[in-house]
């Protein structure tokens, strides 16, 4: 689902809601960690993830909904500036938007278990109605991420639509840490003097929004999911599938968010690396099944990928506050090597989330090679919740 504002403004293949939500979650986690008194980071990540889920049925209702003329040129002119309306009109429009989105979210959540349904709805309300410190922080971060994306599309040029987003954040953002971050954006893009490592990190991670998954490209999927979209799906799946109270959910959500960020620099490796021939027919044949190797070869391949990803992650996180750098690399290592119950869980949810993703491609195009994915699942998964989910997937897609 592409973001409406960018579509209206003529951006070709603009970012999707999932890609946006991924970077909002990552950015809010990193920035919220600096806030005193402490914010609940688990809550911040959760709200960031679901703040736009209501758009599944309601659509992306931008602040301009119902106010734009048909003429594309006039429309663009209006979109260049932040919308200004009388207070009463704002309140009325807000109410209509809120009701439509709430209904949409309720429809989306209706088949979930009551506990998780209530939790997601609660998180959405916190953000939508600015009920808590976490809700307010997330809402402000959401707008800053959009501004950042707009600057990435148009550059800092204030005669471009970027101006409208600056107006919006100037109206909304009051949190000192987020104000400081806005100052860093200003320095970086307008004064070109101060380079903040946190901002550079988030700009680099933004590249994942446009990075298609190699495994899907190899299988000829048109318009494949990107690394950022997969990270969004994984993080959401970790939250929804986690039914074990003993596991540290905040740690797992962070783990899911950063699990693949190393791909900014490292290659998106597939298990078929180095074994696919140039001949398309032969290549397709190999991709139909899960590749088989000796134990020694598996270790060799794992170590190769592990080292290249770790190096990439070290490069990406270099210059971040030391504790954050250590935390990110530690979380990634834990998940990659399944060192703790949390790492093991996220690692397995990663594969079932991928399975869910590829089954949707297979549903659209039955030529999509699905059998190899199943072969992998039966070796990779042993968590009872994931096995149960796998059986559900089989039932739903057979």
């Amino acid at each position: 689902m592409p973001r409406t504002g960018f579509v209206w403004l003529g951006i070709k293949n603009p970012e999707t809601v999932a890609q946006h939500s991924f970077r909002v979650a990552l950015m809010n986690w990193i920035l919220a960690g600096k806030v005193k008194p402490k914010l609940n980071l688990e809550k911040i990540i959760k709200i960031s993830l679901i703040h736009d889920l209501c758009e599944v049925y309601a659509g992306d209702m931008t602040p301009y909904w119902g106010l734009l003329p048909e003429d594309p040129q006039k429309r663009k002119e209006i979109l260049k500036r932040w919308i200004r309306l009388p207070k009463k009109v704002k309140e009325k429009r807000e109410k209509v938007k809120f009701n439509k989105e709430k209904k949409s979210l309720e429809r989306l959540l209706k088949n979930l278990q009551p506990k998780i349904k209530k939790e997601i709805m609660g998180c959405w309300m916190e953000c939508e109605k600015l009920l808590t410190r976490e809700g307010r922080f997330t809402k402000q971060g959401d707008k800053i991420e959009t501004l950042l994306q707009a600057i990435e599309y148009w550059g800092p040029d204030l005669s471009s639509p970027v101006f409208g987003w600056w107006e919006e954040v100037e109206d909304l953002v009051d949190n000192p840490i987020l104000r400081e971050f806005l100052g860093q954006i200003e320095s970086r893009f307008y004064e070109r003097k101060k380079i903040d490592r946190g901002l550079e990190f988030l700009l680099k991670v933004g590249k994942l929004k446009n990075m298609p998954r190699t495994g899907l490209v190899l299988r000829g999927v048109k318009d494949p999911a990107t690394v950022a979209e997969d990270a969004f799906l994984l993080t959401l799946a970790v939250w929804v599938l986690n039914k074990e109270k003993k596991l540290n959910l905040e740690k797992m959500l962070k783990m899911a968010l950063i699990y693949e960020v190393s791909e900014v620099y490292a290659k998106d490796q597939t298990p078929y690396e180095g074994i696919l021939p140039k001949d398309i027919k032969k290549r397709r044949k190999i991709l139909e099944r899960w590749p088989r190797f000796s134990r020694r070869e598996k270790e060799k391949r794992f170590l190769r990928d592990y080292q290249s990803e770790k190096k990439a992650l070290q490069r990406l996180t270099l210059g971040l506050p030391k504790n954050l750098e250590i935390e990110i690399i530690g979380l990634w290592d834990d998940c990659k090597r399944r060192l703790t119950p949390e790492g093991n869980f996220v690692n397995q949810v990663y594969w079932v989330a991928m399975m869910m993703q590829v089954l949707q491609y297979w549903k659209e195009d039955k030529k999509f090679p699905i059998f190899g994915w199943w072969e992998q699942m039966i070796e990779f998964i042993d968590e009872p919740i994931c096995l149960e989910f796998m059986a559900e997937l089989k039932k739903k897609f057979s």
Binding site: P37, K38, L39, N40, K246, N248, E250, K251, R289, W290, P291, R292, F293, S294, R295, R296, K298, E299, R301, F302, R337, R338, T340, P341, N344, F371, W374, E375, M377, I378, E379, F380, I381, D382, L387, M390, A391, L393, K394
Partner: protein, 156 residues
Amino acid sequence: MTSEKKYYLTEEGLVRLKAEYRHLKKLKSLKIKGEFPKVWHSEDLNPEYLSFQEDLNFLEARLMELRKILRYAKLIKIPQKRDVIGLGATVLVEVDGQRDEFTIVGSLEANPSLGKISNESPVGKTLLDHRIGEEVMISSPIKVMYKIKKITYSIS
């Protein structure tokens, strides 16, 4: 009497979990001594205290789990019948004409990317107790035939 779940571990895995247990115990005692926030004055819950409490709760939960694992840990040893697939067996199989190799380990040490398959995964579970030469059909949730070519044990 309820039978507790056994946690199958290699020597290496057991050493690692024991080290984790010692580290977390030390961390817990440090946290209690040094980081406990002082009295909070209002009736509102102090966020520092809440965060501290959360950390401590997870620490305690993990310690409890580790205690349980270490109590019911069962060391994987080389069995007498070496032609049968058991825990610790490195198995060479043929799947659809391709050769594959992995070791069957307990759930706590599994990492299939490294060639260590859990005894609780559909493949691991089904292959247990089978012998060289047998053809085993894994049928959950898809059907795949595994032909067992070789079984070796090399766990110290």
